[in-house]
Every structure is written in structure tokens, then in C-alpha cells.
């Protein structure tokens, strides 16, 4: 062709290889990925809170946060909810998929330094916070308290329970709650904001609170935090919207002036509050 090749096509995926698949809870699995090209893989970096676009030709493309990672290999923890995730769940290790990314904003690691850090998650929302916990623990001395408040619908839908011992060993205070108990469960029952209500002491001016979960959970957690005197600019949320291009070109993920794909997914609460409060915006 006579025209010059467009080399920087933001829609173009790179081949990635599924190295391992680890079942988590029912309907959720963690996929370990590497880029097929060794040099590209060696150069791949992400920040906790960012996401990749995973592409299964013929099925479609989805935005999935990175749930852990280190040199040259990273993970996505994915729940089967639709066409693409269902197709993904049928793949075996060794399969290739398409990958674009990483995209979006990340958790405010720098703002957390020297602070009490509350990590609050509901359900699958723990996945984007897991690499943040890894980052905090890797530099544990840089932070004061690290508190994980986590809830799920039932005890058997709690994610990453096999990691709790390691997190606790790294001096992470862990509090877990479930909406509905089952026989044998002796832990907390209720909703996640309750765990935050019960946190004493809570130093409002030396705390950063990071949320990821259903918006209703985050709304009540924000209310609880504000009642405790934590300023809005110390609250951070990861939002989910319909992200398709991941670079602010397709329009789907808008929330007020924000493109959630590139201005988020992690927002400081005071920035997004006026739009988050409006129903169906």
C-alpha cells in the first residue's frame, strides 16, 4: 500500500499468553499473563489500580484490573459475568489472547506514605486493591497502620482468603464481614461500612482510605468516613463504567466531565463527588 503504516493504533492488541489459571471462588479465576514478545514483556509495567483491555477475537474486549504482578508476569482475577468472560473461562494455559494496556489512574501510593492506610473492598473489588497491598507491604516501614476491611455476600464468596495469613504476617490488620452467614461461620455478619464504623481509633488527618466495591457500598463507606471527620480529599474510589476504547475516544465511560477510563478508574472523592451523587449520570 502506498500510504504509510499507522503504527500507533490505540485499538491494536498485543498477543499475551495465559501462563497459568488458578480457580478462586465459584465463578472467579485468576489468570497469569505474559506478553508473547519477550522484549515487550520485559518492558511491561503497571501501577496498582490500573487495568488492561483483554481481547478474545470473536467474543470481544473487556477492561480488567491487574490483581497482582511482578517482573514479567502479572495476574487478572476475573468473574464470569458476560460473553467475553465466559469465553475466557473456557481457555487453558498456553492460549493466547489480545492485550492492550495498562490504562488509567492508579492508587495514590505516594499520598499514603507516612499515613494510616485503610483498604476497603467489597466482593471482586478486592482484586484491584491486591497489587496495592503488595506495594504497601513491600515498603511496609513507609506506612503506619495498614487496615484491610473486606466484605462479601457469604463466607464462600470471600476472595483471596489464602493470602490473609501473609498479609497479617506483614502487619496488616484484617477485618472481614459477610452479608449472610453460613453454618460454621463465626466471623462478622453485616455490611462493609459497619467495619469502618467500628474502627477505633481513626486519626482523620493521618489517614488515607481507598475503596473498591459496589457503588452503594462505597457510598455508605464514604458517609461513615466523613462522619468520622476524614476530609474528602483523603478518600479514593475505583469506579466501574462501560470502558471500550480505554483512551477517551469512544465516549462510553463518561461520568460528568470524567472519562472513567483515562481520568479514572481511581478518583479522589472530592473530584468526582458532584457527579457520583447524581443518580443515573
Amino acid at each position: 500500500m502506498s500510504s504509510p503504516a499507522v503504527v500507533d493504533n490505540p485499538w491494536l492488541s498485543r498477543p499475551a499468553v495465559i501462563r497459568a489459571i488458578r480457580p478462586e471462588i465459584e465463578g472467579v479465576a485468576t489468570y497469569q499473563l505474559q506478553l508473547a514478545d519477550a522484549a515487550a514483556n520485559a518492558a511491561y509495567r503497571f501501577r496498582p489500580g490500573q487495568f488492561n483491555m483483554l481481547y478474545l477475537p470473536g467474543a470481544g474486549e473487556i477492561a480488567i484490573s491487574v490483581s497482582s504482578g511482578h517482573d514479567g508476569v502479572w495476574e487478572h482475577t476475573i468473574r464470569v459475568v458476560g460473553n467475553v468472560t465466559r469465553s475466557l473461562s473456557k481457555l487453558d494455559p498456553g492460549a493466547t489472547i489480545g492485550l492492550r494496556g495498562p490504562y488509567g489512574s492508579s492508587w495514590p501510593v505516594d499520598d499514603c506514605r507516612g499515613q494510616d492506610v485503610f483498604v476497603i473492598a467489597g466482593g471482586i473489588g478486592l482484586a484491584p486493591l491486591r497489587p496495592l497491598l503488595g506495594e504497601l507491604i513491600a515498603h511496609r516501614a513507609d506506612y503506619r497502620r495498614i487496615v484491610l476491611l473486606y466484605g462479601a455476600r457469604t463466607p464462600d464468596t470471600l476472595l483471596f482468603q489464602d493470602h490473609c495469613a501473609a498479609w497479617a504476617a506483614a502487619d496488616v490488620e484484617i477485618h472481614i464481614i459477610v452479608d449472610r452467614s453460613i453454618p460454621g461461620w463465626s466471623g462478622n455478619v453485616g455490611v462493609v461500612p459497619l467495619l469502618l464504623d467500628r474502627q477505633h481509633p481513626l486519626d482523620p488527618d493521618r489517614t488515607q482510605i481507598l475503596f473498591c466495591g459496589p457503588e452503594v457500598m462505597m457510598r455508605y463507606c464514604v458517609r461513615s468516613a466523613l462522619q468520622r471527620g476524614v476530609p474528602k480529599h483523603r478518600l479514593w474510589l475505583s469506579l466501574e463504567r462501560n470502558m471500550q476504547c480505554a483512551v477517551g475516544l469512544c465516549g462510553h465511560c463518561q461520568l460528568g466531565p470524567a472519562f472513567v477510563c483515562k481520568d479514572g478508574p481511581v478518583f479522589r472523592y472530592d473530584v468526582i463527588e458532584p457527579f457520583l451523587r447524581v443518580e443515573a449520570l
Partner: protein, 371 residues
Amino acid sequence: MAADQPDIPRFLAKPDFQLLLDLLRQRGYRVIGPRVAEGAIVYDEIASADELPRGWTDQQAPGHYRIERRADDAWFGFAVGPHSWKRFLFPPRAVISRADATEQGWTFANVEDDSPPMAFLGVRACELAAIGIQDRVFLDHAYADPIYRRRRQAAIIIAVNCTSPASTCFCTSMKTGPACTSGFDLALTEIGEGFEVCVGTERGAELLTALPTREATPADRRQAAELRDQAAGQITKRMDTEGIRDLLLSNLDHPRWNQVAERCLSCTNCTMVCPTCFCASVDEVSDLDAEHVERERKWDSCFNPEFSSLSGGPIRNSIRARYRQWLTHKLASWIDQFGTSGCVGCGRCITWCPVGIDLTEEVAAIREAQP
């Protein structure tokens, strides 16, 4: 302005106008211009000046569009139709990438846009502004759209000043027209037996040197200026844009959204005819054995319920929410995102709304009845 550009406009006689088309086509440009098709003035490839909508004009009102005969034989004696130049720079359907199954797994490849360079003939001032807005959307950040970039860089823009605005036009409120002031290679004003031609770029100046033009006389220039001024005077629709961003974003729960939702059909017409709306979705287009898959981007609309869908269903699950998204994005949050309004005042969304919703009235109603 480059030093070698003539300061004094030129005059191109109508009998010589075909030479401009021939010149562009000889140089490999696909010339796109207005023509009559299916009861409307649309933009399409033209080879001959005879294909221009000579002697036609358009009558527009909320929910109303008709073409009718003019009393004269003007070639560009209409406002704007349902098409905009968006469809040529940001095509309604385009293949953006390809995936092929190989022994080593999936491989991914660019699909190069193979459109020949285009020359746009008859671009209005509001449309120059619209192209400028889409430039900021598609080009002015880290991830540029490759198809738009390629087509935009190649395109020659020959503007024709609007001398017959419609009742739905409000470019004067949006400060985009009706006179063309920048963003063109050449800007023409139709004056009787020919065109006053102003040069905007060196490329435009160079084109002009290959055509039999003469210096426009003071009378030519006076006539052209009068026609441009007259057009401005004919624009009656107004939108008060004072503080419009804060006005709309602080009235997201205004009762007016409920009222407009009772009329709006959520049909997507306004977004399809809008020269700046840029939302798109991607479809998977696969061969039968699913080994060769193309990703096809197509225009989408915030009025489609599934546009905002997550696994739990659409976020904007009512027409009220969808109309509010469109209007507040266009007139308010667009300013945050791209530095200007997303509206150029062309009036297409008013004309092509099947129930005649007029966004200027919606803004006025919100302004009048603030809680």
C-alpha cells in the same frame, strides 16, 4: 499568513469553476460536495459542477426539513443538510484492527485506511468549527485516532460562506459563524456570476495559481461582505451561553429533564446528524471458522440504552438520564474535556429531531427556572 499569499481576494467565474474540480481530481483528490439526493442536500462525491444543488434551498424548522426551488440559480443557496463532514473524517463504519489465528495463537494487525485524499467543497463556518472540535477530540492527546488523523491531514478544505441560514441556525450564539474566518484552505463567497475567493493556507494559494482567476474588484468584495453580513442578520435563533457549564452541571436534577424526557424518543437522530458527536462502539466481525476476525468501529449514541451498560444493566436507564447526558456533555462537560463547547450552532439536532426538541429552548427553560 504566509508572505506569498495574496492579501486581496481573487474572483473565480462560474464558467471556470469546473476547472477547480478537475484540478483537484487530477491531483488524486476525491472531491466531496453538496448534491441533491432523496429529497435532501447531502455530501457526496462529485465530479462535475453540474451536480451541485443549483437553484435549491432548504427550509428548516424543529422536526422539519424540505428542499425547495429558489427564485435564483444560486449554487450554494442553502444552510446545512443531514450530513456533516464527520462522516468522511470519522466514517460511520471502519475496520480498526484484525486478528488471525495461527499455530502460535492469535496475531493482531493494523488495518490501514485506504481512503484517497479528499477535498471538501462547500464547508460552512459552523462546520469548520465542528472539524476543529473533532480535531481536539481525536488528535490532541496521547492516543490519536489513526483513521481521523490520516484523513484529516490529507483533506483540502474549500469553504463556502453561508448566505442562506436556516431558522434553526444559531452559529452567532456559539461564535462559530456564519462567516468563515479560519480553518480552510480556500474560502469562497458566491456572488452572482462567480465567487470571491479568500486564501487561508499556502496550499490554497498554490491551488489558486493553477486557476484562471482575477483580482476581486472593490465591488465584488463589497458584495461578498454584504452577503456575509446579511446572513448574520438572518440568524434569529439564540442560545445564551453565559455560564452555561455551571448552569447545566448544577442543575442535573432540574425538573425540565423530566419534561423533555416525555417528548424525546431516544431515537439517536440528534447524535447521528451532530457534526461533533464522536461516540463509537466496536463489533467483532468474524469469518465462519472464527480464525479471521475484524474489529469494526461504528458510530454509537448515548441515547442507546446499552451504551452505558455494565453487567448489571445500563447506568443511564431512562430517557431522562440519556437526554441529560447528551445535552450536558455537548454544552457543559465538553468544555472541561476539550476546552470548548461541543456545539457549533448548526441546528441539525433541532431540524432532524422527529418531535422537534430544540436544545436552545431546553437550555433557556433550565436557565429561567432555577431552583
